[in-house]
Symmetry: C2
Amino acid sequence: MPVTSPRRTARERLLDAADELFYAEGVHTVGIDRVIEHAGVAKASLYTAFGSKDGLVRAYLQGRHRERRDRITRGLDRFGTPRDRLLGVFDLLAESASEPGFRGCAFYNAGAESDPSGVVREESTANRAWTRQLFVTLAREAGAADPEGLGRQLVVLYDGATTGARQNPGPEVPLTARRIAAMLLDTTP
Amino acid sequence: MPVTSPRRTARERLLDAADELFYAEGVHTVGIDRVIEHAGVAKASLYTAFGSKDGLVRAYLQGRHRERRDRITRGLDRFGTPRDRLLGVFDLLAESASEPGFRGCAFYNAGAESDPSGVVREESTANRAWTRQLFVTLAREAGAADPEGLGRQLVVLYDGATTGARQNPGPEVPLTARRIAAMLLDTTP
DNA sequence: GCGACACTAGACAGACCTGTCTGTTATCGT
DNA sequence: ACGATAACAGACAGGTCTGTCTAGTGTCGC
């Protein structure tokens, strides 16, 4: 098999289409037919690859989680000091929030109109747990006296920045959060 | 007519049912039939009173906005100093977030899975504008050097607290936001 | 008493949704 | 060459959704 498959598999195209449509319009609003049409794929291929719409939604959210993790961990490499790495999370959010098509947190959006039990909840808590742990770790590396407490505060800022940027796209809101985070770092060294 | 009407009108019962069901399960998830059944009302009554489901959604959001405004303005009366009044907004959120059935911001939840144009967007921006103005006013009364800037920061905290409390009900997250807000007030007097 | 009005009950249309099933075509390892 | 596998196209079933329409019921002012 070649390194880059000449023909993308149906599963990949489905996942790409789902990612695009689900994020832009919502997992509930977008129906199966829209996804398979956008992917150029037969309906049976979806059900052999993912089993159900729930399975596709789960794969979509898992992909969002993995991509977000990779983007952040890779993006933080460019920052030198622990302090800059911590604040860098907000810089990266400012970049994401400036890209066209930014619509806030995919997990929150998916969960807002789904029954709380089920696929969305699971993937959402996994994603949130990772974010929280990221901030705690960065706070510890930055020499915070209470890394757990500072991590909790940073999560509030991060959530607020994401929510605000959703209604108000652009880097402004995340950078406002970044400024508050910097103040937290400075006053509790 | 008596002061308290003996029989609640169909419109009122519909609005109550919509408020309960839409907030708990989402405007998109809950269908017309669920609402009229819960209200004990005929379908025609809904369409003569509100014209369409969109009309009912708009009335639901307007009611949420009005109730939230009243609860906050009334709730802030118990606080004395301008500083306490500003931080009191977070205390009130902590109380709301502790009530059973708290599910975060009704406007964000409704907007997460709706097309951006339309009813939800309009009511949502109205609600956000009011919140923002509230914080700017309170910041000014508290003697902030830059009320607009501080207001923006407080909105980020408020959004973060609401979002966090949705996934993690109880007073903890709003009180974390309150602590950060207090720090902002103290460091920029 | 009576007309206006608000409301109820429920059938119905037309659209859309998920999921299944049939049958056909193409590609690939052996 | 050939069987397995993957993917195609699309009809179909069964359900749910919004919104309309018909027809009947009660209540209130006058």
